[in-house]
């Protein structure tokens, strides 16, 4: 489905180019969910921006990002527009900034549908209603006419997911989709994402700093540190039997409760918390 091969991303800096992603290779299969985990500055967000062709103009890239054989890095802007939305949907961390405050939820979902498919207004609205139901917004018939500021953070994120789903993409990229949300809401949003992968056969790239989130929602995990891929494999293997010292440190830094599921305490290079 998606294959990233030897991807490097660099930005010009005062002391020569600064590499934010360094020779990363990873693949996502159909119906598979890939977790990308790392601390701030690990380059995980740059990787996701590159995948939808939204890197800042000053970025220099090498390697390739193949979406069913076609390299996204060399695509024209016009071709990229077709890929964004229709092939790859994006879910952002802060839905408030990703939504248009002047449009109702239904309008924003319908806008995307009508942009890519020739269907009538009423039909698009019906589709929007169906999508709101799909992301389990309570009382969708009423919520469809709500504006972003009238909704809670969790509801806004559901609308964000519905917008991403509107174009029936094959791949969803979710960049820290629950970081701004309460844990109980986070659970609901992750449940929805799990369901989409299972029911619709979508592929998912879930970017998170939270190993607990990665553990519950992904099949495979890529651990990133300072732009490099330090470890990659099935999530359970990576977290139960980490080979890279950095992964072990990450697990050791988790609060005790969060690493409760592990049979043995990881051997951290620098010692765990307390």
């Amino acid at each position: 489905m998606l294959a990233i091969r030897n991807l490097s991303i660099a930005f010009p800096g005062s002391g020569g180019p600064v590499r934010v992603v360094d020779d990363v290779s990873v693949e996502v299969g159909r119906g598979e969910s890939l977790g990308i985990v790392g601390e701030s500055g690990s380059g995980k967000s740059m990787l996701s921006l590159a995948t939808i062709g939204l890197l800042p103009k000053s970025a220099r890239t090498s390697g390739e990002i193949l979406l069913e054989g076609k390299n996204i890095l060399t695509m024209s802007e016009r071709a990229l527009c077709a890929v964004r939305g229709r092939r790859i949907g994006m879910i952002f961390q802060e839905p408030m900034t990703a939504l248009n405050p002047a449009m109702s939820a239904g309008q924003q979902i319908a806008e995307g549908i009508r942009l890519h498919r020739r269907i009538g207004r009423a039909e698009a609205r019906a589709e929007a209603l169906r999508l709101l139901d799909r992301v389990r917004i309570p009382d969708p018939a009423r919520r469809i006419d709500s504006y972003p500021h009238e909704m809670s953070g969790g509801q806004r994120q559901r609308v964000g997911i519905a917008i991403a789903l509107a174009l029936k993409p094959d791949l969803l990229i979710a960049d820290e989709p629950t970081t701004a949300l309460d844990v109980t809401v986070q659970k609901e949003i992750l449940d929805i994402l799990d369901e989409l992968v299972a029911d619709l056969g979508l592929s998912l790239i879930l970017i998170s700093h939270d190993l607990g989130v990665i553990a519950r929602s992904t099949d495979r995990t890529l651990v990133m540190c300072r732009g490099r891929a330090v470890e990659e494999g099935p999530t359970e293997t990576v977290l139960r039997h980490p080979t890279a010292p950095y992964t072990r440190d990450l697990i050791a830094a988790l609060p005790r409760r969060a690493r409760a599921g592990l049979a043995e305490e990881p051997h951290a290079a620098a010692g765990g918390a307390r």
Binding site: E39, S40, G153, D182, V183, T184, V185, Q186, K187, L190, D194, V197, A198, H209, D210, L211, G212, V213, A215, R216, S217, T218, D219, T235, E236, L239, R240, D249, L250, I251, A252, A253, L254, P255, R256, R257, A258, R259, A260, G261, L262, G272, A273, R274
Partner: protein, 271 residues
């Protein structure tokens, strides 16, 4: 001193909200909260956004006034004190904030930032003595003493949070309120800051009111915990009681929602 260091009794805070058509309604941000924090202990208040935990912190820090109820620190009712007496009392309680980027004035040197609460002391040392005090405070939180001459943007998030802790401790307060003090930090840095707070408690007998949304952090750092929901303290007890044997349904919901590695391997089965 006998009894708890911090004693909050029946604390309520209402805010007037202007609704549609100019009609006002009141929002009860904190609703009849009572809790005691013993000297030298760490009490965590855990809850989701909008539960009133930050309002509670602001009132305990006398940055806001309650609608009713009392806050006693070392026996003194903070809101019965005269403004002058309250200003004198402030040396006994300080605060560490969430955002290590927003809580330090970018135009002030670290030394000036850390020394700011010395304003509260009538007999604050000046000159070389003051510089030595600041250097010691910085070393106390694991920073080099010469950090005082540098500026906040030269430091990482974790180091900045150490600077903020040094500032909170410079007047040797009895109580420190930490409002989501580790939430903005990377996990490895978060663990370091938690260890620092624990060691400061052990070395200086510090009392900490720790406001957080993260149950994992509560488990790491607190002795006692209060679970807050919609302005009310729904469950209070020792960390072991509340986290291992929760009595309230809300506490159980909160605990169940926490993402942990226990979820490993359950995914395939669910799907």
């Amino acid at each position: 001193m006998t009894g708890p260091l911090l004693s909050i009794e029946n604390l309520t805070r209402d805010y007037a909200l202007r609704g549609k058509g100019g009609a006002t309604r009141t929002l009860r941000a904190v609703d009849g909260v009572s809790l005691d924090v013993g000297a030298g202990s760490i009490f965590a208040v855990v809850g989701e956004s909008g539960c009133g935990k930050s309002t509670l912190a602001r009132i305990v820090m006398a940055l806001d006034r309650p609608t009713s109820g009392t806050v006693r620190l070392g026996g003194d009712d903070l809101f019965a004190l005269t403004p002058k007496a309250l200003a004198r009392k402030r040396r006994d309680f300080q605060m560490v904030f969430q955002d290590p980027y927003g809580s330090l004035n970018p135009r002030h040197s670290v030394g000036r930032i850390v020394a700011e609460p010395l304003h509260l002391l009538d007999d604050a040392p000046r000159g070389r003595e003051r510089a030595a005090l600041v250097a010691r405070a910085l070393e106390d939180v694991g920073l080099p003493g010469n950090a005082a001459e540098r500026f906040p943007h030269e430091f990482s998030g974790g180091q900045r949070q150490r600077i903020a802790i040094a500032r909170a401790l410079i007047t040797h307060p009895k109580l420190v309120v930490a409002d989501e003090a580790v939430s903005a930090l990377d996990l490895s840095i978060q663990a370091q800051i938690l260890r620092l707070i624990l060691s400061l408690r052990d070395r200086h007998g510090l009392t900490v009111l720790f406001i957080t949304h993260n149950i994992g952090v509560v488990d790491e750092i607190a002795d006692r915990v209060g679970v807050m929901q919609a302005g009310r303290l729904v469950e209070t007890g020792t960390v072991r009681e509340v986290l291992d044997h929760p009595r309230e349904a809300y506490t159980r919901t909160l605990l169940a929602a926490e993402p942990t590695l226990a979820a490993l391997g359950q995914r395939r089965r669910r799907v």
